[in-house]
């Protein structure tokens, strides 16, 4: 699905770097399901409820809780802003300003909408104001509906904003993750793919893989930890080096 108003944009990122990993187990009917579209199970805290918990902690003065939201949504917000602003450095600045504006406005956030929808509006308004201040044309409101925020993850028509250096880094990160997942034992690879790509719950994965939910929980964690361990050298924070 191509985003509105993005038909004339070109893509320079190598397709192999952008192409998501698809495990053989999900190439059937499950791959078409969008992640995070399912209602939460009874008694489980949904993604939106987790965000709300973090927001409420931040509203009580816990900056660490807001930092967790920043770490969760920074890349998504930057991808969103890349539809409005071309320069990567400008995108980072505007994203930072949007997060700070959101933090200052936290007392006014009542949880009527999802946190990301609210952050999306702040980000778009910040970007528009930034462009107006530079004398550039800001996108009209019809180009960016607030309803897009929830489904933004699936928007494929993202503007390529990478410099050659960042393009290389993007490719390297994607390669590391894909290689690490390909090297996982079959059951770990299937479990994390069903979760991350197909958005299935642990219960559904347990039914498909014919194993207890606790096993699914453990497999997904072990898969993530194995991939994260490959990424840590790039981050400069190997588990051995840390603490």
């Amino acid at each position: 699905m191509r985003a509105k108003g993005m038909k004339s944009l070109t893509f320079i990122i190598p397709q192999e770097a952008k192409k998501p990993f698809v495990a053989p187990a999900t190439q059937g009917g499950l791959a078409g399901l969008a992640p995070f579209q399912k209602p939460p199970l009874q008694g489980r805290m949904s993604d939106r409820e987790i965000d709300q918990q973090l927001v409420e902690k931040a509203q009580r003065g816990d900056k660490q809780a807001f930092e967790m939201l920043v770490r969760k949504y920074q890349r998504k917000l930057e991808r969103l802003l890349s539809r409005v602003i071309r320069d990567p450095a400008e995108i980072e600045d505007v994203a930072q300003e949007a997060f700070i504006k959101a933090y200052r406005a936290l007392p006014n956030f009542r949880g009527d909408s999802a946190f990301y929808t609210w952050l999306y509006r702040i980000g778009i308004n910040t970007a528009k104001n930034y462009l107006i201040a530079l004398g550039r044309r800001a996108p009209t409101s019809t180009e960016f509906d607030s309803e897009e925020a929830e489904g933004f993850e699936d928007a494929a028509g993202l503007r390529d904003i990478n410099t050659p250096e960042s393009e290389l880094a993007t490719k390297q990160i994607a390669q590391t993750v894909n290689d690490a997942i390909a090297a996982l034992p079959e059951e770990l690879r299937t479990a994390i793919t069903l979760r991350e790509l197909d958005g299935l719950s642990y219960e559904e994965i347990a039914q498909i893989m014919n194993c207890p939910i606790g096993t699914v929980r453990s497999r997904i964690f072990r898969a993530r930890e194995a991939v994260a361990e490959k990424l840590r050298p790039q981050l400069g924070t190997s588990k051995d080096k840390r603490w």
Binding site: A17, Q53, E92, F99, A169, I173, V177, Y202
Partner: protein, 168 residues
Amino acid sequence: MTQELSSLMDGELAADEAQRAITACCGSEEAKVDWHLYHVIGDVMRGHSPRSLELPKGVVEALKAQPTVLAPRRIPQVTLARVAFAAAASVATIGVVGWIGSQGAREETAPVAARSNPAIQPVANTVTLPQGTQPLEVQAYLNAHRQLPTPEMYRPVNNNRAPAAATR
């Protein structure tokens, strides 16, 4: 801890477990890095590889420089409804008790026996003097039996003046 973090980001923890995991993660830099990397892995798998793996240090530093926000604690709608219901019930109770009290006060003007037995009527409230009694006689009688001190009782007493019989 990291397994709870992994389950937390999948929305697979019960509310109390999620609360504990969030609190633990907020207090640990290591856990926050894991939280960051786990989300990056999901993004890459969905075809959104980031330009950099760097932590958002700029935002974090800018955030540290911000004064801490403190939002007033929100009162849940359920609590508000309970308060409103309690207030309405209190007002209604006061109204009913007041109404019952006013009814009782009206009835208490009659003696208990009269209220219980309609045949018994209260005695007259006015006193009629017997025939032939003169008002002046009544007044004199009341003066003689007055309990309160009269002005005559406050006449100064001369203690130095000896009785006439003694001085002689």
